[in-house]
Assembly symmetry: C2
Homo-oligomer: 115 residues x 2
């Protein structure tokens, strides 16, 4: 493995970033989402600032397509590109694995804590 800051590691950090993980999972259903609908779906745990920033990074990497309808009030839609779907699928697989194994992990944590 090549480690010193290479493009691959940067891309990995974008995908596995705190908010990137969540955004990619929501978008992975294939639909297209408006900014505030996306935020509501994430139960407002992410601030507007960080959501914008995260979406910009993912857009720059070619994972997210941003479509602006120049109307007032503003209307913007976000969706995964084919490239984004590839990345997101791995994240979704990991998320499913975690969901399935969460009890086992929690048990391991309890074991570790009382010892």
């Amino acid at each position: 493995m090549q480690v010193t800051m290479c493009p691959e590691r940067a891309i990995m950090e974008h995908i596995t970033s705190k908010w990137g993980v969540l955004v990619l999972q929501v978008l992975s259903d294939g639909g297209s989402w408006r900014f505030s609908a996306l935020r509501r779906e994430l139960e407002d745990v992410v601030s507007e600032k960080m959501l914008t920033q995260t979406l910009r990074t993912l857009e720059r990497d070619g994972f997210v397509h941003r479509e602006v309808h120049p109307v007032i009030p503003p209307h913007v839609e976000y969706a995964l590109t084919p490239l984004g779907k590839g990345a997101a699928s791995h994240l979704v697989a990991l998320a499913h694995w975690i969901e399935a194994n969460q009890p086992e992990v929690s048990q391991a944590q309890r074991r570790y804590d009382n010892s």
Copy 2:
């Protein structure tokens, strides 16, 4: 998706943490590693402090097995548990995907930057 801090999200953050991603990938080859060998493999980009902290978190989650040989000088070995192998395999898959698609991503970034 359930979002407000649930055990699943915490586990996801451990696995996708900055150093967790790298450690799990190195350990994923199945072998067992000594502390400083692991650090050298990561080309010293991670400090001793953060490596210890990351390994502790992964151990608590039941992903990493830590075996201490009580000799002087100290001898400690780290290896993935079966549970850890499950998690790491998804990370490795993602890493391979990134490696394969890195040129396309870099191209997207260049396109984004000159516009």
